[in-house]
Each structure stands twice: as C-alpha cells, then as structure tokens.
C-alpha cells in the first residue's frame, strides 16, 4: 500500500557500471521500435480535424467493433487465467508420464501461424465440424459468433499465463502449505488464502499479456468470426477494411482510439500488478 514514488536518482553506485550507455541504448531502441511507429498513428490521424476524428470514433460501427474487441479479449484473458493456472499447477506439482510432452505443447500456439489456427478452429467449430456438430443440437453456435472470437483468442493467448505462473509456483515453499494445514486450514483455505495471494502478481502479468495479445490479434479471428459489421467485426479488422478503402485517416483514427484505451487499461493493470507485488516488500 505504499504508492510513494522514491526520489529519482540517475547516478547509482553499482558493481557493474554502464548506466549511461545501457539507458541510452534502451531509449533509442524503444524510440525506433515503439515510440516512432506509435506516434505515426497519432500524426496520421491528426491530419483530419478534431470534429471529423470524433465523428469517425463515435460512429456506430466503430463503437460496436471496440465493444466486441475489448469484451472478447477480456473474456479470453479471464479464461486463460483460470485454465492457465490449472495447467501450471498440474505441470508443477505432479509428475506423470508425458509431462515433458505437455510442457512442450504449451508454447505451440506461439509458433503456429495464426491463420492456420484460425482455419483449423473454424473447421472444428463450424456446424459440420467435429466439435461444432456436438454443440449444434444444444443450440450453441461457435464459428461466426463472438464465442468463436473468444475461442480463437483463448488459443493464441493461452501460453502466457502458464509461463508466468509456472516459475512462481515452483518457488513457493511447500512448508508454507504444511504450516497452513497444521493451523487447521482446509485445502481450499490453504489455496485461497495462502497460495493464491502469492501467485497474484504473476497472474496479473499473465492476464495483461494475454489481454494485450488478444486485442492485437487479427489473423486467426478473421476466419472464425465471419466479420459481420456490428456483430462480429473486431477493431483490427475494421481498421484494415478502412485502409483497403484508402481511408488512411479514418483507419488511423480508429487505431488511435484503440491505442489510447489499451494504453490506459494496461497502465491500470500494471499499477495493480505493481501494487500486488510490492506491498509486502521492505519499504
């Protein structure tokens, strides 16, 4: 609960010198790779006046796409947190045959071209697909609905939570759990009150990564979503549509709106994360 910012100090005595050169390099690198491209978005969208910008940003189709993008990304990240934690738990706590294999499979969504993922998921979940066939009698349609978008986003963001939680879970001392048991805590209480708070910073990090990855995802979603304006059209696709129609200013305006919202959300998540991981440290 200590939100005081320590006085900014540039010069710090350290065994390994080189603050100047590393900081300089980092800033240049960040500028070239992130700041300049991002500022181009704002520069481009600034070509049109504020009135027109507002008109584009507040148009029904843009608002609907933003709603779909953020809600599906959020939902996918939440699902990834829950099942990522479960998977990390199984991989860290138990030994079983084929564990290394499963551990290796986890990173696969990163390696697979997203279009491939999109096509295979669409085929599986379409009404004639293997899984879609089973869900159709229940009245659940996955492909070409927001549910399909969530499925694709869960797939591509799934390794993040597992990989951020795994090392933290590994470092938790078993003695702490034993201490809780000796004090009479049930297994659920031990998990909920002792283990979960320790995992919280890692879970938030995993959530933030999965969430931001989902927001920017395009390749797999275009196949499974059906891209119906107002219904299943995500913002990145809308931007692309605008660009294809040579409406560069409009496209970048939407991109700017998305960037601002994403930045604010990620900043909030980071502050929360920072708070969660620093509150117990020596101040």
């Amino acid at each position: 609960m200590n939100l005081l910012i320590k006085p900014f100090k540039i010069k710090q005595k350290s065994v390994i010198p080189g603050f100047g050169i590393t900081m300089g390099f980092s800033l240049t690198y960040l500028t070239l790779l992130v700041l300049i491209p991002v500022s181009m978005v704002f520069l481009n969208s600034a070509k049109i006046g504020p009135a027109e910008f507002w008109e584009i940003a507040s148009s029904e189709r843009v608002l609907a796409s933003l709603k779909i993008s953020f809600s599906t990304s959020f939902l996918a990240a939440v699902i990834n947190v829950i099942f990522g934690l479960l998977l990390a738990w199984v991989l860290e706590r138990y030994t079983f045959w084929g564990k290394k294999l499963i551990d290796g499979l986890i990173d696969l969504p990163f390696a697979l071209p997203t279009a491939v993922a999109g096509i295979s998921l669409t085929t599986l979940y379409s009404q004639n697909g293997w899984i879609g066939k089973l869900l159709a009698p229940l009245g659940i349609k996955v492909s070409y609905t927001p549910i399909g978008i969530v499925v694709a986003l869960v797939f591509i963001g799934f390794p993040f939570v597992v990989r951020t939680v795994q090392p933290v879970l590994e470092s938790i001392d078993l003695e702490v759990e034993e201490a809780a048991a000796c004090l009479g805590a049930t297994r659920f209480q031990t998990f909920y009150r002792v283990i979960l708070p320790e995992l919280l910073p890692a879970l938030i990090t995993g959530f933030a990564l999965a969430f931001s990855r989902a927001l920017g995802e395009y390749g797999s979603v275009v196949f499974i979503s059906g891209n119906m304006p107002m219904k299943t059209e995500i913002t990145p696709l809308l931007i692309r549509t605008k660009l294809e129609q040579y409406d560069y200013a409009g496209g970048t305006a939407v991109a700017a709106v998305m960037l601002i919202i994403s930045f604010i959300l990620l900043l909030l998540i980071n502050i929360f994360q920072w708070w969660a991981s620093n509150r117990h440290k020596v101040s």
Partner: protein
Amino acid sequence: MSIEISNISKTFDSFKALNDINLHIQTGELVALLGPSGSGKTTLLRIIAGLETADQGSIIFDGEDNTGKSTQDRKVGFVFQHYALFKHMTVFENIAFGLRVRPSKLRPGKEAIKKKVHELLGLVKMEELANRYPAQLSGGQRQRIALARALAVEPKVLLLDEPFGALDAKVRKDLRRWLRKLHDEYPITSVFVTHDQEEALDVADRVVILNQGKIEQIGTPEEVYDNPANPFVYNFLGNVNLFHGRVHNGKVELGSFKSSPDNNDQGRDIVSYTRPHDIEIKLEPEGKEFIGSQITFIRAVGPVVKIELVRLDNGEYIEAEISKETYRKLELKEKQTVYVRPRDFKVFIPEDYVI
C-alpha cells in the same frame, strides 16, 4: 497430552529413514530429538504431525489413535526451521490465521481474535510489530512470530523442527532460554528436533538420541551425558579422546597405561573414551600410566584452556581442557613435552561400531 509412538517405520525409496521406533512422551514434557543429519529425527517429527505417513506403526495422542488422522485434525503446533511465515500477511494476520480459518461455528469473534493475537504478541515481546510484514523482520523475530502463530490455535502438542537452526549463535542462545522459560510457564507437551547437542542438553527434560533411523538412547541430559549407552552417544554428545588398547591378563592396557577393566574379555581390542576435561596434564611422569606427549596448540580464550597434544609413542592426537588456573601454574607452552593421563574414561568393546 501424552504421545505414544509405537513401532514406527518409514522408508523413502530404498533408504530406511526410521526403523521400528518406540517412544513415550509424557504430558507437559519437553523432549529433544537429537541426531546427526539423516538420522530420521525430522521424519519422526513430521510423522507425529501427520505431514508424513509412516509405513507401519501408530501414533497415539492421549490414548486416542491419531495414525490415520489428517494434519488438520491433529491439533498440533508446528514450527519450521525456515519459519514458513505467510509472506503476504502482516504479523497480526499471520498469528490470527489459525483462528480465522476455523469453521464459522467455532471461530472466535473479531474482538476475541484481536485480544488473543495481542496476548501472544506480548508473550513473544513483539507488540509494536503487529503491522509489519515478515520480510521486514529479523530471523529471530520471524521465528518468534512463527511460534506465536503455532500457539494461537492452542495446540495440545508443540512440535519444533530445528527451530533455531537458521539463526546466529547469540540469538539462538537467547531464544533457547526463552523457549525453556515459555515451556515452564505454559507446560504444553513439546518435541523439538536438533542436531546441536548443546542445545538439546541445555533445554530438554529428556533427550532422545537417534542414529540411522534407530533410537540409541533415551534419558535426561545428565543420564545421557554421564552414562552414554554406546560409543556413538558418547561421541555425539561432546569432544572425545580415543585410547586404543586391549584387555590383557584381566587388565586394560592403553599404551603404557594399565587399569582394572570393566569387563573380562581377555585379549580383546578395546577402545576407551575420555572427555577432554578428564585429561590430566603433568610436567613430569608421576606414574607408569602417564603418556609422554607434545603440545601442538594452545587456545587460552575464556576460563577453559584448550590444548592439543600428540602422543610421543604412537603419534595419536589428544585434546585436553584445563582450567586457566592450572594452565598458569604449569606455564605450558607450545612444542613443550608433558605427561598426560585419562583421569576418567569409559571403555567400549568395538564390535560393529565405526566412527
């Protein structure tokens, strides 16, 4: 509450950690499980707590069989060597944990919990640190919080696994004394594990010496120190000098030193054990039993002077402890040749015993 440990055995893979352990711990006793690492002492403690399951045997608390009970139901307080405090909780929350996780019917009210926690903080003399996090405390403070946390649930048995092992010598001594005092004021059946013989002899009512999964001896500190059952116990409880010899014509021969034997095994090799403070040093041989030795090292710090010598006849090493007064009177110096004699010793026939 009394603890009855009967026929407990435990094997890890192929390693026999405990081999048919039988032990009765009386209500209100403070018992030390003492042994070198790998002797099975921690395993035994964990089996009592239910953190480990024995392959066979039973654990009985006050006549009630606890063997199959879960840790949660045994109502034991357990203190870990590395404290195992909950990092994300304050000192207050750590101590209150055991009370807060109780089922709602048995859970005390908020005020009652607060009162209890402050009472315990007073007991461990840390009232002013209630809102700190464990990371902000020193090792000694953390261990006291761990103890307060264990006591909060009013356990009938307190189990401590090398509670002072990770602390520095001075803090360890303070806490040791404090634990003894606490136990005298709140006589709760306590078992603590240690590899430090001084700690065990200093604090415990009774000492259980374990080696390679077996109990070597059980007794009060005086009993085990003065009458060790076997060479292992003798050796483990303090520094020791070995004199090899044999029983000859009904006499024990140790080099040039002869004495009446404790037993009549004719012609057998024997080993006699003498504590450093039972070695007598003279400037001249005052009898046949004195052994000529050369002083190799003197450490004259404190009231007891430690002297290391080498026997002139067989080159074996002897460690002696004499008072500063005697040291001054004799005016001993390094490289000097003196004559030593074991004033008191214990003879064991070496059978299968190897140090």
